[in-house]
């Protein structure tokens, strides 16, 4: 048993499961958005805005944003513990990544419910 306190779920198993489930959510969201754009070749602002005005789309989008946040943290935490051997550099990198994820997540909520 190797001890860790900075990974997402404090357990390799939960991190692995979160990584896999969030990947499925992100794949579904990406497929949906690409399909939507293909079926609306002359997309205007009103249609696009109308899509995101619907509650189900906001829930789907928030789910995708949260999945993105979890997926990014698990992945980049792994990268940092593989390649950054100096504790100070690694902790600094992890702090910057978690701050960026937090900012993007709050910003995403503001975009979805702000307008």
């Amino acid at each position: 048993m190797v001890t860790n306190i900075t990974n997402l779920g404090r357990s390799g198993l939960s991190d692995w499961l979160i990584q896999r489930v969030s990947a499925v959510v992100l794949a579904l969201y990406a497929l949906f958005v690409v399909a939507y754009l293909l079926f609306h070749p002359n997309l205007d602002y009103a249609t696009w805005s109308g899509l995101f005005a619907q509650t189900w789309m906001r829930i789907f989008s928030l789910l995708a944003f949260i999945s993105m946040a979890a997926h990014a943290w698990v992945g980049l935490w792994t990268v940092s513990t593989d390649y950054l051997k100096h504790t100070g550099v690694r902790f600094g990198f992890q702090a910057v990544v978690i701050l960026a994820i937090f900012v993007f997540l709050v910003w995403g909520v503001q975009v979805l419910w702000g307008a």
Binding site: M1, V2, T3, N4, N7, S11, G12, L13, D15, W16, L17, T78, T81, D82, Y83
Partner: protein, 236 residues
Amino acid sequence: MSNLQVSVYRYNPETDSAPYMQEFQIDTQGRDLMVLNILTMIKDQDSSMAFRRSCREGVCGSDGMNMNGTNGLACITPLSAVVKANKLVLRPLPGLPVMRDLVVDMGLFYKQYERMQPYLQNDSAAPAIERLQSPEERDKLDGLYECILCACCSTSCPSFWWNPDKFVGPAGLLQAYRFLADSRDNATQARLAELEDPFSLFRCRGIMNCVAVCPKGLNPTRAIGKIREMLLSNAT
């Protein structure tokens, strides 16, 4: 034209400040020799050349090394399988400290193997004669018990290169599953608990370098997947 160009990694910590590559010309007389034969011929030219070897038939696992960029056992690797453009480059197994020339310090590798407690554990009362297995239960150990601990797999794994002190590596994990899959072992919960953290098993990214190089044709990635399934069904 039958002269083979061989470039060998040399390092003697007592006399060399840094490792270097030494060139040799080896006359193979057109024969498709094993790489180990070439090393023996090099040792005839330069007796200071150091490498490990013992059984010379792929059973002991002593002569694992990197041949033209791929890990394998020198004794069962024919020249025709690795030589390109009449050139052979021999290096020690990557990622482990070099003690001298092609001899590496296997300490970290063995430490991870030892951590997997590679022996049967059973705290139930011993039967009068022996713990029996059905043929089906025995079949589950095929593809697991054959490992000779040559370290070709673990030293071809980037996850093991970056975290050899924390990630068990494919060889150790194959053995972990060998005992998890054994019907006579009942330390399953303790074995799984040892592997649940983010490094010991989950640092495997499934790139299958281990499968590509295993001289015994074993599949550590599949064993790691099976352990993951056991962990998952145990915890959900």
